[in-house]
Each structure stands twice: as C-alpha cells, then as structure tokens.
Symmetry: C2
Subunit: 336 residues, 2 copies
C-alpha cells in the first residue's frame, strides 16, 4: 500500500569526522509523483555503509559531498509501486542509490541492478550480493591477485566486506587471517567465515600476534581500516606483497591528513605495493561478480550476517553505530 | 701493468644514516692470486650509488649488510688481467659487484654483464647502460606503465636514474616534470634532459609549483627521495596514478621508520598505487634494457652526465657527497 506521506533523512549539519544522529534530520514531506519516464520505488531496506562518512565530509573525496538539506545518499533496495518508465514495471525489485527515504522517484539512472536472484532475500542485494560482496570480489581478486597457498590478512574481518574477502580468499586456496575488534568477532571469524586464524586488534602485542599467525609473512593485505592496525600488518609484508586500501575506518579524520609511519622505504625493501580501490570503477563488471558470488552462495561456500534495525528513525544514528563496531553483520534499516 | 699491491676500502664502523669518510678505511694488502676457475680483474671505475647507504646500514634491508672489516660492496667496471676461467679472457671488459678496490678475484658469479658496446665508453656500463639506466627503464616502463600524453613527475630529476627516467618518459610521449635541488640542475633538466618543466624543490611553495607544472595532475610519480618532496607530489595525484619508490634519498634514517602524512585515504580516493622497486628482481631481463638503451643512445635520444673523481682515496667520502647533491652526474671513481 502506497502511503500519502514520505519520510526522509536529510543532512542537517556537516560533520567533521564520523556523522552522528545530530547531523541529520528526519522529515515528513508529501509523496512525490513520478513524471513521464519515471517510476516510484518503495524502499524496503536502506543500506548503512562506512563510505557514507566520506559522502558527507566536505574534504575532497571521490564524489561530490551531499549538500546540507539534501536527502542522505545511500544504497537502498525496494519495489517499484508505480511506473511511467518502459523498462520498469510494478513489482520489480531493484537496488539503487535511492537515498534514505521511504519512497523515491527515479528515471532509472540511479538503479544499480535488479534483484534477479529469487532464491536469496532482497536484503542480500545490499550486502553479499551488493556493494560489500562486489567490493570484496574485485578488490581482492583484481587488485591483490592472491595465489594458492599465500597468506591473506583482512582488517575488519567480520564486517560485511571483510567476511566476504576472507571466504573468497579461502575458496582461492589461501591461508586467511582476520583482524577484528572483539573476542566475540574473533570467534565469529573462525566459526562462520572460515578464517584459519583471527586476532583481536586490541591485543596487547598486535605485532607479535600477527607474526605468530603469519610465520612466513603477509602476501596480501586487504585493508578496511588504515591506522595503527595497518601499521602493524605492514611490518610483516613479504617480498612482493600486494595491499589494497578499501576503507579507512580507523582514521578519525583525514582533513588534514593524519601522521603515521612512512611506508615508502619498506615498500622498496619488500618490493610491495599499496593500491586504493573504489567500487564504482568496476560498475560495468558488477554483474560478473554477482553471478559468481551467487553461485558460491548457492553452493554453501559463502556465509553472511545481517544486522537489521527497524524503522527509518534508526537511520540518523546508524553510521556512528557502524564506526563503533556495534553491528553484528551488514547493517541495514528495514522499512515497512 | 699489474701492480704488486692492492688498495681496498673496507667498512670500519657501521654508520647510522649516511655513511661518511670516517666510516671507511683505505688499506693496502697483497695482490690476490686467482685460483682454478677464477680470474683477476683490474677495476677501472668504481661506482657510487645511493643504494650503498642501505648496504652498510644494520637495519633490515633487501640484502645482508656489509660486515665490519669487509671490502665495501660496489659495482665496478674493469678489465680482466689474468684468467684461469674458461669464459673470461685477458682484455675482457666486465661490470660486476667487484667492490671498492683496485683488483678483485672473481669466479664469475659476481659479473653482472660484459661491456659489449664498443661505441660507448666503459664508464657508461656503470650508469646509463648499467644500474641507473636499467633501473630507470624497468621501474618506469614495467611498474608505472606510462601512456602517451600522461604527466610523469621525477624526483632527483637530474640524477643518474632520474635523468634517464625523464628522457625515457619523453621518448614514450609523456609530459615530463623534474624535481631537483638547485637552479643549476633545473637548467640542466631543461637543457640536457628534455624535461618539459623543472622545479627546484627548495621552492617556497613546492605544492603550488607542482600544481602549476601539472595542471591536470600527476599520472606517474617516479620517486627517488620519499619525504617532504614526495608528500607534495602525492597531493597532486590524478585518479589512477602509479607511483614507484626507487630510492629514499631524502630520509635521513629509516630505523625507526620516520613519521609523515598518511597516504592511505588519498590512495583510496585517487585509486592510485605506490610500489617499491628493486633492480635485482629484473636481473634476467637486464640485457633487454641495455639493448634498448644502447639504441636510444646511438640515436642521440639519451643524454647522460658523469662526475668522475680520480683515485681510490676519494671513495670513502663519495657516498656522503652524493647525498649532499654535490655531484653533477653519475658519480664514479676512476682508478689507474
């Protein structure tokens, strides 16, 4: 049933660092009407992703910052409820950049893909079959080129990207070591995500713990954190190591750039590389990843976890919740 | 004429940071006798390279440190004067890791290549047709993959590696920008090494100078310095930039690792990469580079400069001289 009113979360104030509830405002506005060549989508799930912090920061980033007063940019998954667009019909299930709101009008340009796998729930299209799984897939396989028998270390190893990375690396015959933020998540890494070893990065001696878990050194480092966690991993790089920076969750702010140990000499000595990754560069190949991830899911080779909050009023505080590491899986907000 | 005595420079004391004259000792020892399967080489030129600093430092590096009391490890070029080895005959001109001494006995294993290009002087086999030219060739072409029309920035742009990098990039159709340490070297970059622009890195506002010379940003950064010079270049990376660390001349010491601005977030935003390079990883392909460099030399497309000191007693202070930037080309020591 289409409602009369539309609730939306707009950016009220520009945060420095991590966006908190107070930086957003929940508004009720009239339901929009799709025009010619447009359709109305009813969002069922809103996505909460670490990257959203970058989208609201004023500092130069890979996309224009969300403007003050604008609906918060976000991935969402929903159902077409009204359509004047030839390619989309009522009942179609879609993922796209629909924003934090109940209903969105779209001309199709912000659709990322159709939820075309009937055997998996719609929410998976925002996580393991969406941005998280696809990021894990390309950043690991394309950028890091892991080989059988190599040691792959993953930071935020139990997170929605990290848990996929660990399992894909395992499928590829690598030894996998996860770094995560609590004893419970260490256990989750071992029990649910098939890591060969997992380390709580609050460990007294993280350096020694990594050395013990990676006696021959680190061939691939999949970095979702940067900061002190990465510094410890870098010290264990093996000759020819490949590192990808997929996220920088451990940096409180990058304006100005924070200081840390210089890595250049170490990269030279180890003939290692560090490369940045952005999912959007692979948009033409997303379907390739989704098909392979879907096959692994169907074969029971991939586990994933979701942490689903209920109601759009949960959205404003959700990014801070993610950065506090309170979520126990891909963080989503379910709407009625 | 073979002399009776052999002069050699040994490591007397382990330096922290840059090795100076006082860290070495010049000795006179009896002339060695080549045994079965060995030959005696008379060094004509000793090489002085920035990498030698790493070879005498105790900190973990890519090769075992030179031991106290051991002859200083170095490339050298010389002539075989006595041979009991089937593959080498009197009069052969060779380059190899013969060390800082007049005469060396070799079983052939430390020979890097024959000086097989009669049209160029022997000394070139230690520079443009030796480690410097070969480093420039592979680190630029293999690691950075420059494309026509791209902007290539080079640090220590007038140096023996940097000047080759700039010219090779130019041959490949790139726009080249050199960073160097004096007004004289800026002029040399423009006049002798075909740079499109050159900047004195002591400039008041290096950041602005790079921005002006690279209005569309930096596609390739060939780094021989690390430190503040690199920090300034990194700020101008273009999306998809490739950086290679070939040397770290601007770091006074890397034990412990010095601090600097964290690059990870920037690499992510720019989808850029930084990779370390070591010449020895390419040893099986050195000849490929020498042949191509030789062709460019013959065609007048490559210039090079040498700064030749006379006498082995110049060797102990030569590395510090190099790091002070006093040399005006590839630094060599000529022996009688």
């Amino acid at each position: 049933m289409v409602k009369n009113q539309n609730r939306q979360v707009v950016l009220a104030e520009r945060p420095r660092g991590i966006p908190e509830a107070r930086h957003f405002e929940l508004q009720e506005v009239p339901l929009p009407e799709p025009g010619d060549g447009e359709f109305l989508i009813h969002n069922r799930f809103l996505s909460v992703d670490p990257a959203m912090r970058g989208w609201v920061n004023a500092a130069a980033n890979y996309s224009e910052p969300v403007a003050i007063g604008q609906v918060m940019r976000s991935f969402a998954a929903g159902e077409v409820v009204q359509s004047n667009h030839p390619d989309y019909a009522e009942g179609d299930l879609l993922c796209g950049m629909f924003g934090w709101r109940d209903y969105a009008v779209s001309n199709g340009k912000n659709v990322t893909f159709r939820h075309d796998m009937a055997e998996v729930p719609l929410s998976a299209s925002l996580g393991i079959l969406g941005v998280n799984g696809i990021s894990a897939y390309f950043a690991l396989l394309d950028v890091c080129e892991p080989k059988t028998g190599e040691t792959v270390v993953v930071s935020t190893a139990a997170g929605s990207v990290g848990s996929a990375v660990g399992q894909i690396a395992k499928i590829k015959g690598c030894r996998t070591v996860g770094l995560t933020g609590s004893a419970g998540k260490v256990q989750q890494c071992l029990d649910e995500f098939a890591y060969d070893a997992a380390i709580d990065y609050h460990s007294d001696d993280l350096d020694a713990a990594i050395g013990e878990a990676c006696p021959e050194g680190v061939d691939v480092y999949f970095d979702n954190t940067s900061g002190a966690i990465s510094d410890a991993v870098y010290r264990h790089l093996r000759i020819g190591a490949r590192c990808v920076v997929c996220g920088t969750a451990a940096l409180a702010s990058w304006d100005p750039w924070p200081e840390g140990p210089r890595i250049e000499r170490h990269l030279l000595v180890k003939r290692a590389r560090i490369q940045g990754f952005l999912l959007f560069d692979y948009s033409e190949r997303w379907q390739e990843a989704r098909v392979q991830l879907g096959e692994w899911l169907a074969a029971g080779k991939l586990n994933y976890r979701e942490d689903i909050l209920s109601g759009i009023e949960q959205a404003p505080g959700a990014i801070a919740r993610l950065y506090a590491g309170e979520n126990k899986g891909k963080l989503l907000i379910k709407l009625d």
